[in-house]
Symmetry: none
Subunit: 419 residues, 2 copies
């Protein structure tokens, strides 16, 4: 069955609010195996709402409205639908009683327009509103299932969960829901990843594979139809294993979490600690690590050594690495190694990362924007360093440098755990 979500509200068209309702309803539909093919946003205008309904009923089996059930003259969803199909508008008495008693409890004066919130299209099923006043409606006309929900998320969400889900399960003829799993990758770009599994993507029927990229990470969503989570896992296993065989060095999680959360988990589990010396990332690595709840169990802190003076004073980087005619400079593998080792001994941690580079715009020390060195010092092992040439603006370079540092540490933790 195909679904369409229609959000009604001029405030959405003006960009005053973001359409989080569409996301919530889309997630719920995906989860129950209802394919959303379109989402539409339309303003509080009767002709345009009508035209949106005409288009939707031509291409969807289920049309889910959110918004336009309130008390004002602008709230038109029920009226438009009733008029289109020549249905009477009735008053839903239990909802009317609830509205009346709310106003009398508050000692407030009920204005005429509040009655509109108890409106009920003839022949529809009322959907109870536990957190607000406007009653929802669900009805099937000419084979199309219409669901009318209020706009405020705090009213819409409970109504969806408690009233719409059972109603939809009753009318749907597809008993096999969708299940999906997120595979998360680091240290590889979207196009290289796609290239490596193109035959799997192209040959897909069930499960299906969909790669996408955001914020320096690449995700592949594996989706299948199955009656239980166990069955879904079994169906997804062969393709997941094949992807792991090809890209295991980049696949850091099989759920939607950032790589820094995996690192914190790994470290905390084995009671190991991390400290970070940051130059060009300026604190971004620590910021990301400390977004993870409980990060204090593994992350001790670090030093943001933006100036050469602090690199020398707090991390003991020798001045003859940092400055002078023949010095390698602050952006060099020598500096990255010295920073990581200085951090390890200052913090007395098990691991220390260091990042130094040119965030841009423009070059520095005669080195190009995007040139970054990452050092990794590990207690009892030789310090390693990696040189990267990253692209993008200042924000991107900083983000990619941080994600590359996480990838380097994650690989090192992986390799150790395999020994």
């Amino acid at each position: 069955m195909k679904a369409e979500i229609i959000a009604v509200g001029t405030e959405l068209l003006l960009g005053q609010i973001v359409n989080t309702n569409a996301q919530y309803i889309a997630q719920e539909c995906a989860h129950m195996g209802l394919s959303v093919h379109f989402q539409t946003v339309v303003g509080d205008n009767p002709e345009r709402i009508r035209s949106a309904v005409e288009i939707a009923r031509g291409r969807a089996d289920v049309v889910i409205f959110t918004g336009g059930l309130g008390p004002t003259q602008d709230d038109l969803t029920k009226d438009v639908l009733a008029q289109m199909y020549g249905r009477k508008m009735l008053i839903h008495e239990p909802s009317m009683d609830a509205i009346r008693s709310l106003f009398s409890n508050r000692g407030a004066h009920m204005v005429e327009s509040n009655i509109r919130q108890a409106n009920w299209i003839e022949g529809s099923d009322p959907l109870k509103n536990e957190t607000g006043l406007a009653v929802g409606n669900a009805l099937t006309i000419e084979g199309i299932h219409y669901i009318l929900l209020p706009g405020p998320p705090k009213e819409m969400k409970p109504m969806f969960k408690n009233e719409v889900l059972p109603w939809l399960h009753g009318v749907m003829k597809v008993p096999v829901p969708l299940h999906s799993k997120m595979l998360k990758f680091a240290g590889i770009g979207e196009s290289n990843l796609e290239h490596a599994i193109l035959d799997l993507i192209d040959g897909q029927t069930d499960p299906t594979l969909a790669p996408y990229a955001k914020e320096g990470e690449v995700t592949v969503r594996v989706t299948t139809r199955a009656l239980s989570i166990q069955e879904a896992e079994l169906k997804m296993m062969p393709v997941t294993e094949e992807i792991y065989r090809r890209l295991g060095a980049h696949l850091y999680a099989e759920r939607d979490i950032p790589i820094e959360a995996v690192i914190i988990e790994d470290l905390a589990k084995s009671k190991r600690t991390l400290a970070v010396a940051e130059s060009c990332t300026g604190g971004g690595i620590g910021d990301k690590l400390t977004m993870v709840p409980g990060s204090g169990d593994a992350y001790l802190g670090g030093i943001v050594c933006y100036s050469n003076d602090l690199k020398h004073k707090l991390l003991g980087v020798p001045m003859d690495i940092l400055e002078g005619e023949n010095a390698p400079g602050a952006v060099s593998s020598e500096a990255a190694i010295s920073m990581a080792e200085g951090m390890l001994s200052t913090a007395e941690s098990d691991y220390a990362l260091s990042v130094t580079g040119v965030a841009g715009p423009g070059s520095s020390e005669g080195k190009p924007a995007g040139l970054v060195y990452i050092g990794l010092a590990v207690r009892g092992r030789e310090t390693v360093v990696r040189e990267l040439q990253l692209s993008g603006n200042r924000e991107s370079v900083k983000l990619r440098a941080a994600k590359s540092a996480f990838y380097m540490l994650w690989r090192s933790l992986q390799e150790e755990s395999m020994k």
Copy 2:
């Protein structure tokens, strides 16, 4: 003129991401006087993208796409439009060169599919992508203006501002252009700000005032129609002055920059320096400061002392403040003061900020999530400290703590400059 926004991407239909692009584009359209009547979301499916275009061209003069310009087989927006109108697909050579040089700089292998990002519909105007690879397109066919933008917000937004706005101004027949100015506020919430200038907002005709909030900052956009920037400035001056009279202690800029950029500018101008000791913000303050190009002129760096051990060792915070039955603890005004003073003397900076608090979720040291202390040490002055009770999740608390620290420092710089 009527506009429609079409966001292309199966991840939107599955509810994996929220359609913030539609909100951004809708705001920009509203601002330039372009009425958005519909927003549509469609998946990565050629027939359905085609049908969305057919509907849109029947009801809009301007159709703005976002998404589907990437390198993968799923990215279809340009292909569908070119096929519908029988146009050839060309390679935009400057974009191709940029893609090639990016891969060669990175030493990475360019796969065939990356070429798709340089695709360019015959007869269209290329829209430069300054923060990514996919070139945008703008073209007018049969009286309909089509604009094709990438999906990632960090590519879409600069392309809209720098490329689409002038292109649209060229095709729109608005005789008197809009001019606007952003007034940026810190240390005040949106509702308090609105309350303070409600009479000005309600009484507005030209200029108009529109307040909105994002990421811990509040903005008021002042907009007027004028033939020149000089005329616009003159028209905006009385209301801007009245706002300054009422809210000068919060109004930190008359252009759209974050408060940390103003701080870096102020400090660099007078050759003063800043260091930051961060506990609960975990590096977020340094991260934000170093997003400002040239921040190295004023920001020396800092210490992320997530553990008590590092607070003591690197900043000299006495252990009897941090631990023990009757100790004030790491989240206390005593700790914040000691951290700020330790940072000032360690970095030998002119200013030092410190932040310590409970980011949550859940309490720590028996103190509630959101309790934050900010210290400010200034060379030759008594250290000051502020206690805040912030609301929201871990991410919000960290962000608000950072913005509150910036506000505290900005006020201090303001007061000094008035002496």
